[in-house]
Symmetry: C2
Subunit: 109 residues, 2 copies
Amino acid sequence: MDKLDAMRMFVRVVESGSFSQAARDLNVSQPTVSKQLAALEARLGTQLVARNSRALAVTPAGQDYYEATVRILQDLDFVEERVLEGQSVPSGLVRVTLSPAFRPYRGRH
Amino acid sequence: MDKLDAMRMFVRVVESGSFSQAARDLNVSQPTVSKQLAALEARLGTQLVARNSRALAVTPAGQDYYEATVRILQDLDFVEERVLEGQSVPSGLVRVTLSPAFRPYRGRH
DNA sequence: TAAAAATACTCCATAGGTATTTTAT
DNA sequence: ATAAAATACCTATGGAGTATTTTTA
């Protein structure tokens, strides 16, 4: 799965307080959530959520990661929406100035 | 591929000015870069880079996306490094206060 | 004609699902 | 006894590679 989707999954887990509920919310199976969370934790080398089969508790690392993740996903959603809607044309020259290595785009030729 | 990796790929393309060069930098094949960029653009419904087989030009949408992407990837790298290093325990109570729905984590029982 | 990007094609790894087991209230 | 998470197992999709073709300076 996409790591970003795993992050969204994690956010849903934290906010719903349940793997099963998160699974329902996201229309995936419960094992999928289980496995993705485990994979995410493995990559990070840290437990994000303490399981207890009846209750979940977010670890300090999990809390940190949760907050960052929410911000990151929001940022991403914002740009993608802008781009999707073609709102990405601010003040032509400014963008060109910010451009790193290339001449400004002037369309196909 | 992971969307985040595709974003890193895009960043490398923009900064190197070449699909082939980006591929070399990232130790993947050139078609991989080609396909991932295409997939990314498809998802966004927008062209990010104007190809020209001899020169690339970043489109305005591409520039917007590039800037956001750099920020996002940096943010992500930062948290992940913190978490990886167990630096995520700031001021105990503050974290607990910020926590949304659950009781603070007190370790296994 | 030389370079870079796109396309065709193949193969394998992984992500997801269903079924089941384990755990704890 | 019930509800939730973990584990086992299987399958299929898609992501990566190699080889080739297309394109344009």
